[in-house]
């Protein structure tokens, strides 16, 4: 008999909920089962299944490094049935959590190296965990370069936090670059005027024109909309990056999170992968060996 039921969720209370943009909320949760919370150890890049009873579950990546054992931070974009239901909840309400799932980013393997984080839009959420982890273990990592592509100023997530890094990151050896797509965005244009070495209009890959990226001793970590990966990888391969040192985290329909429901299967007969349990973090080497991954 198996006592543990992987499909059984645990209740978590919403401690804090903040609208970051028109469609994205930052939610802080407290796990109510303290025994469960002790074993709830997660790495940047892992995700949880977040459920609203009567509506369903959705896979959401954890957007912060683990600070306290019963706390969990999520960034939820209002985009489907479940996430709309999550947005309707208030502080004090209950969400049902399963996880953490997936492999996460290899923070230990990357120790001693420079980090290049490339994010597009909501893709910054899992990378924020990487960034926080690296900043709280600052001596273990070299220069941290962040390239963050947004649509416009109002779509920028964790605006205060990232603008602080944009202006003052250098003293912690963090170089924060920003790109924006909406050419009529005045706020972003102001940022560009202030720091033309750090901000420019266009897609995120344009930022490779501002920063000389070297493959030596550098790990690249990518997350963004599906279309973004191959363009970022192209830039990195032009610079002779090792495919095994390019990490990316993928989105798929992950209903169960534990490699059973089959929706997130990718690849060919040669190499079938479940994004939820074999990933969601893969290297570009994996992508070269798994058709349909990016």
């Amino acid at each position: 008999m198996v006592e543990d039921n992987v499909l059984a969720p645990t209740p978590a209370k919403i401690l804090n909920s903040e609208n970051m943009t028109a469609i994205e909320k930052h939610i802080e949760l407290e796990l109510l089962d303290k025994e469960f919370a002790k074993g709830f150890v997660y790495k940047p890049g892992q995700f949880v299944e977040v459920g609203v009873m009567g509506v369903g579950e959705a896979p959401i990546s954890i957007c912060a490094a683990r600070k306290k054992e019963d706390l969990l931070e999520l960034c939820v974009r209002k985009v489907g049935r479940v996430t709309n239901a999550i947005h309707r909840l208030n502080v004090g309400d209950i969400l049902w959590i399963r996880g953490p799932y997936g492999n996460g980013f290899p923070m230990e393997e990357m120790e001693g190296s420079d980090l290049l984080l490339v994010a597009g839009g909501l893709g910054i959420a899992p990378l924020r965990g990487v960034l926080q982890y690296a900043l709280s273990n600052r001596e273990k990592y070299g220069t941290i370069t962040v390239m963050y592509g947004i649509r416009c100023y109002t779509a920028m997530l964790w605006r205060d936090e990232f603008l602080k890094l944009f202006y003052e990151g250098d003293k912690d050896n963090v170089e924060f670059y920003l790109s924006y797509e909406d050419s009529s965005d005045e706020k972003c244009y102001e940022l560009q005027c202030e720091r033309s070495d750090r901000c420019m209009q266009g897609v995120v890959t344009k930022l490779f024109g501002l920063k000389e990226v070297k493959p030596e001793n550098t790990y690249a970590v990518i997350c963004g909309p599906p279309i973004m990966y191959k363009f970022v990888v192209q830039e990195l391969m032009k610079r002779d990056f090792d495919p095994k040192k390019i990490y990316m985290t993928l989105e798929r329909r992950m209903k169960c999170g534990v490699g059973k429901c089959g929706h997130c299967i990718i690849g060919t007969g040669k190499n079938i992968k479940y994004v939820c349990k074999d990933g969601p973090v893969f290297t570009y080497w994996d992508a070269l060996n798994t058709k349909g991954m990016i």
């Binding site: 006592e3 429901c261 089959g262 007969g269």
Partner: protein, 335 residues
């Protein structure tokens, strides 16, 4: 361990199965279809059946099942319990090998409680079969069940040559000693000859050597488009496949809107919604991608075994008459 079950003991053998649990066996329904149904007497069962439309996976991966009931007001949920014991009589080797593939999915590092409960509480009795023109399990290495059953019956002239595959099977034989006798050299010889004849009877063949690379090399092949043009995208192949296990999860809410149940039910990778994520992006937007994904999934490995067992169901029941073997042969450049 091997035993003989004489013809005249088959009826009492059947009766003794009822003491273990609910007995299910292949029953003829309609003109040419079979289904595993609960049975009360041996006469209802046709042990010489070709194949059931729905494989015995339905006993373990339920077409629809409640995961738990919830009550938001009380902040609790109640796991659904399962206490029934099923005896499944007359499972073919391909289907037993298919269950082993499901085992590796559902009993891996994150074991599925519901599946395991049902697997552990069931009693499986295999039976050998005569291949028809759709069977190709001999090509897939699944024409013989080495394990994954409690008892396995091989027909011989004086009854059945019985292989004991588990402790449960051993106990059943011990509890009903009088029904069984030891195998004699002539029984063993007959079993061997029957196996030889059975394997010789396969007409359909599929060369699986290097099939994984062949599939990988055919990612952009026109065969996917050509086959998808014929395919209705109905998902029948998924439902009848003994190794297909994709499931969807749905919440059903009671009138109070506070209580209800979370249910999982069979899903199909041939349906449009399968690769769809919130926001409208579909990772397998057309039938071409979905069909290619299905064939690659079947041709891929699950824990070292090919994920197709060659039962022929997807071909037999496809309303568009798409032949699995034919598509794979096109992939190999043989057609």
């Amino acid at each position: 361990m091997y035993k003989i079950l004489a013809k005249e003991n088959l009826d009492p053998f059947f009766e003794s199965l009822k003491k273990i649990g609910k007995v299910h066996g292949p029953v003829k329904v309609g003109r040419s279809s079979y289904d595993f149904r609960e049975v009360d007497s041996l006469s209802e069962v046709d042990l010489t059946y070709t194949r059931t439309m729905i494989p015995p996976k339905k006993f373990f991966v339920k077409p629809k099942e409640t995961i738990f009931e919830f009550d938001e007001e009380k902040l609790e949920f109640k796991e659904s319990q399962n206490s029934e014991v099923n005896v499944i009589l007359g499972v073919h080797p391909c289907d037993i090998n298919a269950l082993k593939i499901l085992d590796s999915v559902y009993m891996d590092e994150t074991p599925d409680k519901y599946y395991i409960q049902r697997r552990e509480s069931s009693f499986i009795i295999g039976i050998d079969c005569t291949p028809d023109e759709y069977c190709f399990c001999s090509s897939m290495g699944t024409s013989y069940a080495q394990d994954g059953f409690d008892l396995f019956l091989h027909e011989i002239s004086r009854g059945y040559f019985v292989r004991i595959g588990s402790e449960k099977g051993y106990n059943m034989v011990n509890d009903n000693e009088s029904l069984f006798e030891d195998a004699k050299p002539e029984d063993i010889e007959e079993f061997k000859q029957n196996e030889r004849k059975r394997i010789e009877a396969f007409k359909l063949e599929l060369n699986i050597s290097g099939i994984q690379d062949m599939l990988d090399l055919s990612y952009e092949d026109s065969v996917w488009k050509e086959t998808a043009d014929e395919c209705f995208g109905c998902g029948t192949c998924n439902l009848v496949c003994p190794t297909c296990r994709c499931y969807d999860v749905v919440d059903y809410v009671g009138l109070s809107l506070k209580s209800g149940e979370r249910v999982r039910r069979w899903d199909s990778c041939m349906l449009r919604k399968h690769g769809l994520v919130a926001g409208g992006l579909n990772f397998r937007p057309t039938r071409v991608e979905r069909l290619r994904n299905r064939f690659n999934c079947k041709g891929g490995l699950t824990d070292g075994s090919l994920s197709c067992v060659g039962c022929g169901r997807c071909t037999v029941y496809c309303p568009a008459e798409i032949s699995f073997v034919e598509v794979m042969k096109k992939i190999r450049g043989e057609l």
